[in-house]
Amino acid sequence: MSRRSPEPLVWLLFSGGGMVAALLVPVLLVLFGLAFPLGWLPAPDHEHLLALVRHPVTKLVLFGLCAMALFHWAHRFRYTLYDGLKLKQASTLIIVVCYGTAVVGSVVAGVVLLRA
């Protein structure tokens, strides 16, 4: 493998994405999936949440979370297909589908956040 191989870069996205998702997703799930709907904590009203999401820093954090978590999935799923299902001979197709899905998902997340 040459030193210009993209493998270290996709691995950085994979490991960073795993870290970010592990830190943020459980917090968001507990807040918005349990604590607010079940009334454990007073739920913020719609106006307040919308103002929060429209703040550039929130947009940046949410975009980072979505994009990196998607790349984490793409990398993990690529190797699951390689080793788990022994499909390494279809490597090019798998790479295009996995990372392509992550790119498309990131663009969609970016558009949704920009329009919010």
Binding site: M1, R3, R4, P8, W11, Y79, D83, K86
Partner: protein, 249 residues
């Protein structure tokens, strides 16, 4: 202790080239003694029951790394695995997985022997050696000491599902030994090892299953060494992309 059986059945995989078409299982009854390891059972078979059984062993104390076998499905040092832990038996003894079998429990380790020197597992020092001792603080030694405990027993290769699928994978022990020298304060060879360690068959082949660290009898944690080197390699690769040549390292 009255009801403890006095013998245990060892089901040993035999393969005699020229005689057996495929490996066959042969059962032997051996005395069950609390101080006996699986290796003692094999020695009993060899000395008293069947002199044709072949296996490797040397030190009997978990240092030489030559008696690795698959015991009840797990890679183990047969000198450090006690028969009583498998009572009432039977206990299955097979050759190490992921290696070609030469005869009975003896496997061909030439693949590992070819890979090991590729990571240059020795001190590479720029400049003149110091006069007298090469001093090192305890903290500097702690950086690599864990990785220096490797005895080349190859249990990690036997446990690694990636090595099973991709025989060109450099493998856990070789990478951990590369790191053992990379992290040594007396060593300047990290750049020399980089092309081998940071290759597709090096750390990037590892998918962090972690079975190597589970199997390691010496607590080396090869999986940890590999993940640590992935970060080093990724940061070096980023520098290659972003920085002009002079500012790297």
């Amino acid at each position: 202790m009255k009801n403890t059986p006095k013998t245990i059945t060892m089901q040993v995989t035999r393969f005699r080239p020229g005689e057996d078409e495929a490996p066959v299982v042969q059962s032997y009854e051996v005395p069950l003694r609390k101080e006996w390891a699986v290796l003692d059972g094999l020695n009993h078979i060899k000395d008293h029951l069947d002199g044709t059984l072949s296996y490797r062993w040397s030190c009997r104390m978990g240092i030489c790394g030559s008696c690795g076998m698959t015991v009840n499905g797990k890679p183990q040092l047969s000198c450090a695995t006690f028969l009583t832990d498998y009572a009432p038996g039977p206990v299955r003894v097979e050759p190490l997985r992921n290696f070609p079998v030469i005869r009975d429990l003896v496997v061909d380790i030439s693949d590992f022997m070819e890979k090991l020197p590729k990571v240059k597992p020795w001190l590479i020092h720029d400049g003149e050696p110091p006069e007298g001792e090469f001093l090192q603080t305890p903290r500097e030694m702690d950086e690599y000491k864990k990785y220096s405990m490797c005895i080349n027993c190859m249990l990690c290769y036997s446990a690694c599902p990636v090595y099973a699928l991709e025989p060109e994978f450099l493998g856990p022990a070789a990478i951990a030994l590369g790191q053992r020298y990379n992290l040594d304060s007396r060593d300047d060879g990290a750049e020399d090892r980089r092309d081998v360690l940071a290759s597709a068959a090096g750390v990037w082949a590892c998918t962090f299953v972690g079975e190597c660290s589970t199997a390691c009898p010496k607590g080396v944690d090869p999986a940890g060494a590999i993940q640590r080197y992935k970060l080093t390699a990724a940061v070096s690769a980023l520098k290659d992309y972003l920085l002009p040549r002079g500012a790297r390292r």
